[in-house]
Symmetry: C2
């Protein structure tokens, strides 16, 4: 029996997507599901809600809490944490490069490297130089991939992915969508999403 | 060694406070912590953020998700769920009655009854008649408690409790605060809050 596939929607500038990205592969293996990486942009979705920045910046108490909570989570996972400044940074190029790498063997390593660089080391991910270095580190042909990332088909694909996310009811990241269309929001709902996919695939 | 006390801040109109209220006693016992019920009002805190209703009403996609998520959570806990209409309802009298019952043996039963009535059966909790019946059901002297609930000292106490919640950085419910001041937000952070309190009490 093939494994049910859970879509893992994330934005490289989304704080809780970082621990989720670190946990996803092992949790999926344990749950007996496969995951499909679905990079998208939260910005247009936030804009449609009337927000011109991260809600963590707009709502100060929520922001303060989130940074402390993330620090605790990373501590519990024994992964590095360093708050990027400024936050949020433009994740468009990072997402386009991930779209360009769809189907490539290095893609997962690239995604993990982006998150670790950004939230583990607090370093920027919004320049071609930074993304090129991360592509190279992940074993990708950086120059040609950066070119592909900035091509019209890839730009269009990221736009349609983001529109699809909005159409699925996604309003934050990370989000998980099961084959039967159940939406689970947040790093802390990953296990529930995978268990749901597994339970409903067995039926 | 006495158990560390975790403050359990909740609003009777807060959706996720319902499953949290059902789970709290057993989870606390398992974790080896005590809980202190801290009813407060989210309304003034939301107002200070510029919201004149629940964020689940203001942000439609988030609201749709929350109701489905709550339904799944209640299903997993095998507790009844019925969406109150209208939502949110005024929880001030319900909170004042809980304040009035501070230290009374019936208080926990009353709090659980309010949540079960409101989110398990979808019934209103915003009238003296409803709250009186719930007090009576919990074994409280309903008439005198309703009177006390509407006295100036109790009204003032609920205001200062809500101000204290805001001062602690609380921006949503349920929230948990450990003896060393760590804030945990959400039904899904209860276990982490209790584990934190336990681990730091042992030091």
């Amino acid at each position: 029996m093939s494994k049910p596939v859970v879509d893992f929607w994330f934005d490289f500038a989304s704080t809780y997507s970082y621990p989720a990205s670190v946990r996803a592969a092992a949790q999926a293996a344990e749950a007996g599901v496969a995951i499909r990486y679905r990079p998208f942009l939260l910005g247009p979705i936030f804009k449609a809600q009337g927000w011109d920045s991260s809600p963590f910046n707009i709502y100060a108490a929520k922001g303060r809490y989130m940074w402390r909570d993330l620090e605790r989570l990373c501590g519990a996972l024994s992964i590095p944490f360093r708050r990027p400044d400024p936050f949020p940074q433009n994740s468009m190029l990072a997402a386009r490069a991930a779209i360009a790498g769809d189907g490539e063997a290095w893609r997962e390593a690239y995604c993990l490297a982006v998150f670790r660089t950004h939230f583990g080391e607090g370093r920027p991910i919004d320049t071609a130089e930074a993304i090129g270095a991360l592509l190279h580190e992940a074993g990708a042909p950086a120059h040609s991939m950066l070119e592909l990332a900035q091509s019209d088909p890839v730009k269009l694909r990221l736009r349609t992915e983001t529109e699809q996310a909005a159409g699925l009811g996604i309003f934050g990241a990370p989000s998980f969508v099961t084959p039967d269309g159940e939406l689970f929001w947040g790093n802390d709902r990953m296990e529930a999403a995978f268990a749901w996919a597994r339970a409903h695939a067995d039926r």
